[in-house]
């Protein structure tokens, strides 16, 4: 592999990613347990809510490789990337590659749907999402159904995401998991250095995200 270590993922992006993984795994487990555990499932959902808000904000105001504008590409580039997918040649893409970029969007949309429907959901026992009372039982039941179907969608997306990472590792020799820990990718050629933004933005965005969650779950 190449000699160039390029910093692509800043701390907020990495922290977001791994906190999200933990929260999603915990949400899955606590939902399977059900009953009293749903209380903590809901807390975990609020955490995911905040994380998604933060990531969307960071996609507009964050460091260069985190921005949507830098990784959301049109169909031509996506198809070109798809064409290279099965060769052993590394993609050697600095940020999210054009296919991965759309996966990021798909995952964020699915997570947002999951959070939104969860707020109104009920378990037919003694747990209700914080906004349940605003819609009543019938609508809540329907949204709970969407919550369950969309969980499957989310798991399929996450499964494809993980398989793609494994594929990059085995077929193309690219260590994407390591990059998500260290923030750096090894690339054959030099790439645009990461354009960082002031650390204050992290705190402001995190505070705003938390505040939005707090307001909405208490409506």
């Amino acid at each position: 592999m190449g000699q160039h270590h390029v910093h692509v993922w800043d701390v907020p992006v990495r922290l977001f990613h791994w906190l999200l993984v933990m929260a999603v795994v915990f949400s899955w487990w606590s939902a399977e347990e059900g009953g009293v555990m749903l209380k903590y499932h809901m807390w975990s959902g609020y955490a995911i809510f905040g994380l998604v808000l933060f990531r969307v904000g960071w996609g507009f105001a964050g460091s260069s490789y985190a921005r949507f504008a830098s990784f959301v590409h049109g169909p031509r580039r996506v198809l070109a990337t798809l064409g290279e997918l099965f060769s052993a040649r590394p993609l050697a893409w600095a940020g999210h590659n054009p296919l991965g970029g759309w996966m990021v969007l798909a995952l964020l949309v699915s997570l947002a749907v999951q959070v939104a429907t969860g707020l109104f959901a009920n378990d037919d026992l003694f747990n209700e999402g914080p906004l349940y009372a605003h819609v009543g039982k019938d609508t809540s039941d329907w949204l709970t159904g969407v919550h369950h179907v969309n969980f499957t969608v989310l798991m399929v997306l996450a499964g494809v995401h993980v398989l793609a990472i494994v594929w990059h590792r085995l077929r193309k020799g690219e260590h994407l998991v390591r990059a998500m820990f260290t923030g750096r990718k090894q690339l054959p050629e030099a790439a645009e250095p990461l354009a960082r933004v002031g650390a204050w933005r992290v705190f402001v965005l995190a505070a705003v995200s938390a505040a939005i969650v707090a307001v909405i779950v208490n409506l």
């Binding site: 009293v36 209380k39 378990d123 037919d124 026992l125 003694f126 747990n127 329907w142 709970t144 159904g145």
Partner: protein, 150 residues
């Protein structure tokens, strides 16, 4: 003594159900069982709120609702006669296809809620909360298997 009485009542309800309501109209069966489920939920809700800490724990209230659940739980199965399989409800076809398993689960619910009522008499908060968790697991298991996604 009380437990024996509850069991007896439960058995009586079951036998009585079979004998008296020999051929219930399918739609009546659906309404009956939805009523029982509603009444169960009516009692499970306040216990759940206490266990989650949403409202202060009150052993007397908890025991009251646990007693109600122990009486109601054995009344549920008779609301699912096979003759009501085709009636419109939230019951999945799997329920009628695996009826023996469904009956097993109902028996488990009966035993588990009787135990909850028993434990509730002790006033031991920890034991009550933990048995409550066990009982609602039986509820959830059956809902997951046999209740339609709305």
């Amino acid at each position: 003594m009380k437990r024996a009485l509850i069991t007896l009542l439960g058995a009586g309800a079951l036998v009585g159900g079979v004998a008296v309501v020999a051929d219930p109209k399918p739609d009546d069966a659906v309404e009956y069982r939805q009523g029982i489920m509603m009444a169960l939920g009516w009692n499970v809700g306040p216990m759940g709120a206490m266990v989650k800490g949403d409202v202060p724990f009150d052993a007397g209230q908890f025991a009251f609702h646990a007693g109600r659940v122990a009486v109601l739980a054995p009344m549920a199965l008779e609301g699912f006669p096979k003759s009501s399989a085709a009636a419109e409800s939230h019951a999945l076809p799997a329920l009628w296809e695996n009826y023996a398993d469904f009956e097993d689960r109902m028996k488990k619910l009966e035993a588990s809620s009787a135990k909850l009522a028993e434990v509730a008499k002790s006033g031991d908060e920890g034991a009550m909360k933990s048995q409550f968790g066990e009982t609602v697991k039986v509820c959830k298991g059956c809902h997951d298997e046999y209740q339609e996604e709305h």
